[in-house]
């Protein structure tokens, strides 16, 4: 664990606020960071962690409040200002260029030169090697980044951020894609950095890690500061209490079902494995049921849904749909079995952003809405008009490009698209991620009305409140295995599940 941190604050935020189009993302935030400490920042989605870090990093500009660095007021307006103040961020989405070598990435945009323009390769290789050795990373500076594992890329990313003088390092979910060994290596590096006097802001959802590495913990909720305390004085229960708070949003309250779950399985999964991501998973899904799946990023939740939708090859196990053994080896098999998936990343895999609402919503059912390959345009228009009305999609017109819609309306287009295939089993992967509160409530309501017609939903979500609002049953997934199964009636509090997913 951390050695006693020096008391001089290297960073102080006072009264920092930020709004986006009238919606307050940060209220009067305060935060301080001491020299050589690891300060963890925790909170649910939308708590304001990333907004705060983007302000520190100069990506967003604060509306009010002051930032002090080493006691001096620092006016950070751009990423360059942040860099000049010694603030560096290790990006969650890697910002390395795969076709370049480790050294070239580390020195990208601040290459060492002779005669003002000749690259001094020798010096850069030497400095990279020193940097890597110092961090205990066993890598050849001349290796291409494309040949490295995701974990090593993350380490190179850290080395890159340290190649220029950094006194404050921000790490956003640094272990999300690391193996256990790589995580240990990362933690060693963090200890080294602390010893060198570097201060670290550590953002993570993994409480176990936070309690292992952080000196202090700050909890945020809905853009407000909740608490800051020494890790030694805190326990998991208090952190989770702080994250959840007392007030629960209306839309996220459990409502009794309009129709009870039918005690007849539509989907029976037995011993399902998908490489190392999903291990020996068995469960039944009943008609009219909402089955929630809770788990951290990397717990195998997305892989499980993708395997059921035929996007991933199953390495072991069996799937029965409507009592019949079924092999789902491709998307067409899934569609034939009336299974649909609303994928996690709607911009990458859910939508064609440069196309209209109509073209997106009709894409999976084009063949059904045509004769001999010729489109039945009136029927397509009628169907999409109905989609827009039923799901209250605010698009103006069906011809509007989806890239111009808000996140919530984009997500509704993805849902509409799959509803048009008339699925009996709807797989929803983080359907409310990056969606405004209003649309979230509407999506939750949609799940209720959809299952009221006797159809079934498997819902994966990081927001436990959301799972609790609609799930009849919740499975907890951890490292690819089901570790708990909780009936809705048996769950007394959100804490219980928060504890379960942290293991």
């Amino acid at each position: 664990m951390g050695q006693p941190a020096a008391t001089q604050p290297v960073l102080q935020l006072e009264g920092v606020s930020k709004s986006f189009g009238g919606v307050k993302a940060l209220h009067d935030m305060h935060f301080d960071l001491r020299k050589g400490e690891v300060h963890a920042l925790v909170g649910g989605n939308g708590a304001g962690k990333s907004t705060l870090m983007k302000i520190l990093n100069g990506v967003y500009q604060r509306d009010s409040g002051t930032i002090r660095i080493n006691g001096q007021v620092a006016n950070i307006q751009t990423p360059n200002d942040a860099m000049a103040n010694g603030v560096r961020m290790v990006f969650q989405e890697l910002s390395l260029i795969p076709t370049l070598t480790v050294m070239e990435n580390v020195f990208l945009n601040h290459e060492e030169v002779n005669w003002r323009f000749l690259l001094d390769k020798k010096a850069m290789v030497r400095r990279t090697r020193e940097l890597l050795e110092e961090l205990g990373i066993d890598l050849d500076p001349n290796q291409k980044v494309s040949t490295l594992s995701v974990g090593y890329c993350q380490l190179v990313e850290i080395a890159k951020s340290l190649s220029v003088q950094a006194s404050i390092l921000i790490m956003d979910e640094p272990t999300a894609s690391l193996t256990a060994a790589e995580t240990t290596l990362l933690f060693n590096i963090i200890e080294l950095l602390k010893a060198k006097g570097v201060s670290i802001i550590y953002i993570s959802h993994r409480m176990k890690e936070i309690f292992e590495i952080a000196d202090r913990i700050t909890v945020l909720k809905d853009g407000r500061w909740v608490l800051t305390e020494k890790t030694a004085d805190l326990d998991l229960g208090r952190v989770i209490d702080g994250m959840i708070g007392k007030a629960v949003e209306k839309a996220f309250e459990w409502k009794d079902r309009a129709k009870p779950v039918i005690d007849e399985p539509i989907l029976e999964v037995r011993g399902l494995s998908q490489d190392d991501m999903v291990r020996d998973v068995s469960f039944d899904l009943k008609k009219g049921e909402v089955l929630g799946i809770a788990g951290l990023m990397g717990s195998g939740r997305t892989e499980l849904l993708e395997a059921l939708f035929g996007l991933r090859r199953i390495s072991a196990g069996s799937i029965r749909v409507r009592g019949k053994d079924t092999s789902i080896s491709g998307i067409s098999d899934a569609l034939a079995n009336k299974i649909a998936l609303v994928p996690e990343d709607r911009r990458r895999s859910g939508l064609i952003l440069i196309h209209s609402v109509r073209d997106n919503a009709a894409l999976p059912v084009l063949s059904r809405l045509s004769r001999l390959g010729v489109l039945d345009k009136p029927r397509i228009s009628g169907m999409v008009t109905a989609n827009i009305r039923d799901l209250a999609i605010k698009a103006g017109s069906a011809s509007r490009l989806v890239s111009l819609l808000s996140g919530g309306n984009q997500q509704k287009v993805v849902i509409a698209k799959w509803l048009n295939t008339a699925p009996d089993i709807l797989l929803l992967d983080e359907p409310t991620a990056g969606v405004d509160v209003g649309s979230k409530g509407e999506i939750i309501d949609f799940i209720r009305s959809f299952t009221a017609t006797g159809k079934s939903v498997i819902l994966v979500s990081s927001e436990i409140a959301e799972l609790l609002a609609v799930s009849d049953r919740i499975l907890v997934l951890n490292e690819g295995r089901i570790t708990r199964e909780l009936m809705r009636e048996a769950i007394s509090t959100e804490e219980e599940i928060q504890f379960a997913i942290q293991k």
Binding site: L311, I331, S332, L335, L341, P343, R348, S349, G350, L351, I352, L353, I354, H355, D359, A362, L363, P364, L366, S367, S370, G373, V374, L375, K377, S403, L404, S406, G407, K417
Partner: protein, 320 residues
């Protein structure tokens, strides 16, 4: 709010503006040498092959691919048909074999692209060399004359009610292209594949088949263009279609189709081809040398596509 100016999509419409500017410019500077009926009909004859290949190239580009092999497919198809006609004099059979060759080559392009994961640019660049070499080899680079008059009439020299048959073929290709792109599932799926291949796959679109079909269509019209060249010149020759791939791609992009896939404008592509034809014609009539023509053409292509691309930047940015 939605006034004409903000709704006007420069990228998609630049080709029509350029088209009219070119016509007005040459009409003023060249007078009736340019706008005489004979000259106009001549332009439609000269551009027919480019226009027809531009129709299917629009499909290829909208699926996010490219086809560089069309010029050499046209050359070899002209030779195959010429040789067939020489030995059999059977028009239907010769044309059938010529078109079949084009389709098979196009399909092969598509299969190589999808099965090997090699970019379309490289597969078709390689194919361009193979087919061209084959065309030079089988005839030892000599031309093969075609002495079947009906063939030359149908595929090159004839007219229908005074309209050159080559232009009639262009209109047929345009009509089919417009119909397939805008009224069939294939058109929509092709755009989906080019717009976001991952999302298309997640939606159950058979990305592989769509890509192969687009390349097959391109091979087919390339062979057909070769047949039209041979009908017009009454011979098969390995030089036919030389450099056409670049002219065709320029016509498609000028027409408002994005080089990155996901959008298509079949009509624009044909207008783009006519625009290039008009510029060529005007420059020749204006007495410019071949070298000067090449330079002016290059400048115009860069200018027009640059304006089109700028237009795309002016559009509202995607919210993140």
């Amino acid at each position: 709010m939605h006034n004409l100016l903000t709704r006007f999509d420069l990228a998609k419409n630049i080709v029509y503006i350029a088209f009219f500017i070119a016509i007005i410019f040459f009409a003023i500077t060249l007078g009736d040498r340019f706008y005489s009926i004979t000259n106009i009909l001549n332009i439609t004859r000269q551009t027919a092959m480019i226009s027809i290949m531009a129709v299917t190239m629009t499909f290829v580009i909208s699926t996010g691919q490219i086809d560089l092999s069309i010029g050499s497919i046209a050359a070899l198809a002209s030779l195959i048909v010429a040789l067939m006609l020489q030995s059999t004099e059977n028009i239907a059979l010769s044309v059938f074999v010529g078109l079949g060759f084009g389709m098979v080559t196009g399909a092969l392009n598509g299969i190589l692209i999808t099965a090997l994961g090699v970019p379309a640019f490289l597969v078709t660049l390689g194919m361009m060399g193979i087919i061209k070499g084959l065309a030079m080899w089988i005839t030892a680079t000599t031309a093969i004359p075609i002495r079947v008059d009906d063939y030359n009439t149908i595929f090159g020299l004839g007219t229908v009610f005074g309209i050159p048959i080559l232009f009639v073929w262009t209109l047929v290709a345009l009509a089919i292209g417009l119909f397939v792109m805008n009224y069939t599932t294939f058109g929509k799926k092709a755009l989906a594949v080019g717009g976001n291949e991952v999302a298309a796959r997640y939606s159950g679109v058979n990305v592989r088949n769509i890509k192969i079909i687009a390349m097959t269509m391109s091979g087919f019209t390339a062979a057909f263009a070769g047949i039209l060249y041979s009908g017009r010149m009454q011979a098969g020759r390995f030089t036919f279609g030389e450099g056409d791939e670049l002219t065709v791609i320029a016509a498609v992009i000028l027409g408002g189709t994005s080089l990155f896939g996901g959008t298509a404008n079949v009509f624009g592509a044909v207008v783009g081809s006519l625009l290039i034809g008009i510029i060529n014609n005007g420059l020749i009539l204006g007495g410019l040398t071949v070298s000067q023509q090449m330079m002016v053409r290059g400048v115009i292509v860069i200018l027009a596509t640059a304006l089109g691309t700028r237009g795309r930047f002016f559009r509202k940015k995607t919210p993140s």
